[in-house]
């Protein structure tokens, strides 16, 4: 079992600088957990505490069932993969992969077996006799992963391992690492600032900000039900539109109102909003760009939530088009069909799928529904 548990973990640096604040996290065996957040949010510090490279100021860390706070890193049964994927230039691929085991005085025949098995998994058997300078970027990445695999750790820790790669290789390696997780069937903890990496690779995402966990959930849940405005804005590209609005009740119906715009709130969401006492209150209305469209079918399907907006910028992305529009003085981004005929300076009609709307408390920024 390689369950990783952090209980009330803090990291406080001298000068009372709190880098990680009261982190509580349960990572199940064989999960692929991604810690994501902007620079300085505490994700790398959390990973380094799990690795044992940073002391835990207070709280408890368990790997398996064992308390690890005072266990030296080499005895934690973990393997780390870092940003640089550095290899020893004077060693062959085989020697690079074998080195960690050699250091642990593992018998030669076992080293050989493990290295060849890892090379087979990574499809680099034919490279074992080469020196790193004779390898391509992608091959070097695989060798560096191989160095971690041969240790057969309970947990893999990866700290922004793709951030030094160009965009093309990054996409390729993203897939490779996901495949590797499936093949090795072990626990992966992965740190990135890139929300696309988090969404595509993780079975569970931990969003962090200012040393505090904002939300822990599977990618789709994070996307569909963000816990607060930060998570809603951080996950998704282009990011969610946020509009200051008011909840107004007319008869049996609730509406989101901003300027002259009045959008009918679906019954199920209206019920929650009313129960939580937000009628008549100022809120933040959130809607993702893909839930706003100008196609005839979409307009017909959402005839109760149509806005008029002036197009400021049109970005043709090929498979889709981004419209940057202004409505009632608010900037809104819509992701529409590439067939859209909207042009700059046009005043167009856009429908909003209110079933996908989000309401956030204006003060606490927490999700209401």
């Amino acid at each position: 079992m390689a369950k990783v548990v952090l209980k009330n973990v803090y990291k406080i640096y001298p000068g009372n600088v709190v880098a990680v604040k009261d982190v509580n996290l349960e990572i199940e065996d064989k999960e692929f957990v991604v810690l994501v957040g902007p620079s300085g949010c505490g994700k790398s510090t959390t990973l380094r505490m799990i690795a044992g490279l940073e002391e835990i100021s207070s709280g408890e860390l368990y790997i398996g069932d064992k308390l690890m706070n005072d266990v030296p890193p080499k005895d934690r049964d973990i393997a780390m993969v870092f940003q640089n994927y550095a290899l020893y230039p004077h060693m062959t691929v085989y020697e690079n992969m074998a080195f960690g085991l050699k250091l642990r005085k593992v018998p030669k025949d076992i080293i050989d077996k493990k290295v060849r098995e890892a090379a087979r998994i990574l499809d680099i058997e034919h490279l074992l006799d080469r020196k790193p300078k004779a390898l391509s970027g992608g091959q070097r990445q695989r060798v560096a992963l191989g160095r971690a695999i041969v240790r057969e750790p309970k947990v893999f820790l990866m700290d922004e391992p793709l951030s030094n790669l160009d965009a093309k290789l990054r996409v390729q390696m993203r897939t490779e690492i996901s495949k590797l997780h499936k093949r090795l069937n072990t626990t992966f903890i992965y740190v990135t600032h890139d929300q696309t990496e988090a969404m595509t690779m993780g079975t569970k995402i931990v969003v962090m900000k200012d040393g505090v966990i904002q939300q822990v959930a599977p990618p789709q849940e994070i996307y569909e039900h963000p816990a607060n405005i930060f998570v809603a804005g951080f996950i998704g590209s282009p990011q969610m539109n946020f509009i200051d609005a008011k909840i107004v009740k007319e008869g049996d119906y609730l509406y989101v109102v901003f300027g002259k715009v009045k959008l009918l709130i679906p019954e199920d969401k209206a019920k929650i909003i009313e129960q939580k006492g937000y009628v008549g209150k100022d809120v933040v209305f959130g809607i993702r760009p893909e839930n706003i469209d100008d196609s005839t079918d979409f307009l017909n399907a959402h005839s109760n939530s149509i806005i008029e907006a002036k197009v400021e910028v049109v970005e043709h992305m090929g498979a889709e088009t981004y419209l940057y529009v202004v409505c009632e003085g608010k900037n809104i981004t819509a992701r529409v069909e590439p067939t859209s005929r909207a042009k700059v300076d046009d005043v167009i009609r856009l429908a909003i799928d209110m079933n996908k709307m989000h309401i956030f408390d204006k003060e606490t920024e927490l999700a209401v529904c």
């Binding site: 490279l53 780390m80 870092f82 960690g100 600032h193």
Partner: protein
């Protein structure tokens, strides 16, 4: 028998010994400008050999030359540890350890076994001192090699590893110079607030100059400007913004993505730094000055 005659009998190559002005002193005038020849600097002389020799052969010739001329052969035999740790005159080292560089690894002394394992079977000298290890070798790719060592030591649970590197020995730049540069790079990095990483002397020149410079001269230039810089220096948010912007090569879009800030928020902070310090850190030259002043604060404890 002259030096050239003796060596020619052994090596079967024609050769000539020249002074540093190119005047033939003994042997045959084979010339000094042929890519196919081997040239060895021997004290104040150059030995030109009509053929390609291995480095080991060159070292032997050098040793033989010193013995032959009854120069201080003891210099050649000085253990590396003695050279690196003591005040050895540069002159006695010129021409030795050609192309080798020194890496200084600031780490716990417990790391010795790992370092020895890394270089097992390689021609590498490892010398220990109070704060770490000197590694003397031909360094092909300092960044990769040093990063591998840091990663390896981290895997084994050693954090806060700093590695400095001197330049390769060449001409009058000796192994001792390289060692001093390697170690000083580590100390400068430490004083700049780094707790991990690789630092080649080439990238530390400016910081070295600041560190050595007269505080009153620095005061002269910063006089009247301290308050603004000090405010920025103490503001974690502004310093982090500047650091990320520098890491993103002054690319505002990339830095705002990394910081998860709206572009305009980042620009607002950059403007705030400008108002406080007078420097627009979006511009390379001004960013460089900003970084330098922050380094002064770190190195001089302002």
């Amino acid at each position: 028998m002259s030096l050239c005659d003796t060596l020619q009998n052994i090596l079967k190559y024609e050769m000539g010994l020249y002074d540093l002005n190119g005047n033939l002193k003994e042997g045959k005038d084979v010339g000094l400008k042929n890519d196919e020849f081997t040239y060895i600097k021997l004290g104040e002389d150059i030995l030109a050999i009509k053929g390609k020799l291995s480095r080991d052969a060159c070292n032997l010739i050098e040793f033989y030359y010193n013995s032959f001329y009854k120069k201080e052969a003891a210099d050649t035999l000085q253990p590396l540890e003695h050279i690196l740790k003591n005040d050895v005159p540069n002159e006695s080292l010129v021409g030795k350890f050609i192309n080798k560089s020194v890496m200084y690894i600031m780490c716990p002394l417990k790391c010795v076994d790992i370092l020895k394992s890394i270089y097992e079977g390689c021609k590498v000298d490892l010398v220990e001192d109070e704060e770490g290890f000197y590694i003397v070798k031909e360094v092909e790719n300092f960044e990769e090699e040093a990063q591998s060592i840091i990663d390896e030591l981290k895997q084994e649970g050693f954090s806060n590893i700093l590695i400095g590197c001197g330049r390769a020995v060449k001409g009058s730049y000796t192994i001792k110079n390289s060692a001093v540069h390697a170690k000083i790079s580590c100390f400068l990095a430490k004083n700049l607030g780094y707790n991990e990483g690789l630092f080649h002397i080439d990238k530390m020149i400016l910081y070295g100059i600041i560190s050595e410079s007269d505080a009153s001269k620095i005061d002269f230039y910063l006089n009247g400007g301290y308050d603004g810089f000090y405010y920025v220096y103490k503001d974690k948010e502004l310093i982090n913004t500047a650091e990320v912007l520098f890491r993103c090569h002054l690319n505002i879009s990339e830095a705002s993505r990394r910081l998860y800030l709206h572009r305009n928020t980042l620009l607002y902070r950059v403007e705030k730094i400008k108002n406080l310090t007078g420097l627009d850190i979006k511009k390379f030259e001004e960013a460089m000055v900003f970084k330098t002043v922050i380094a002064i604060f770190n190195l001089k404890g302002k």
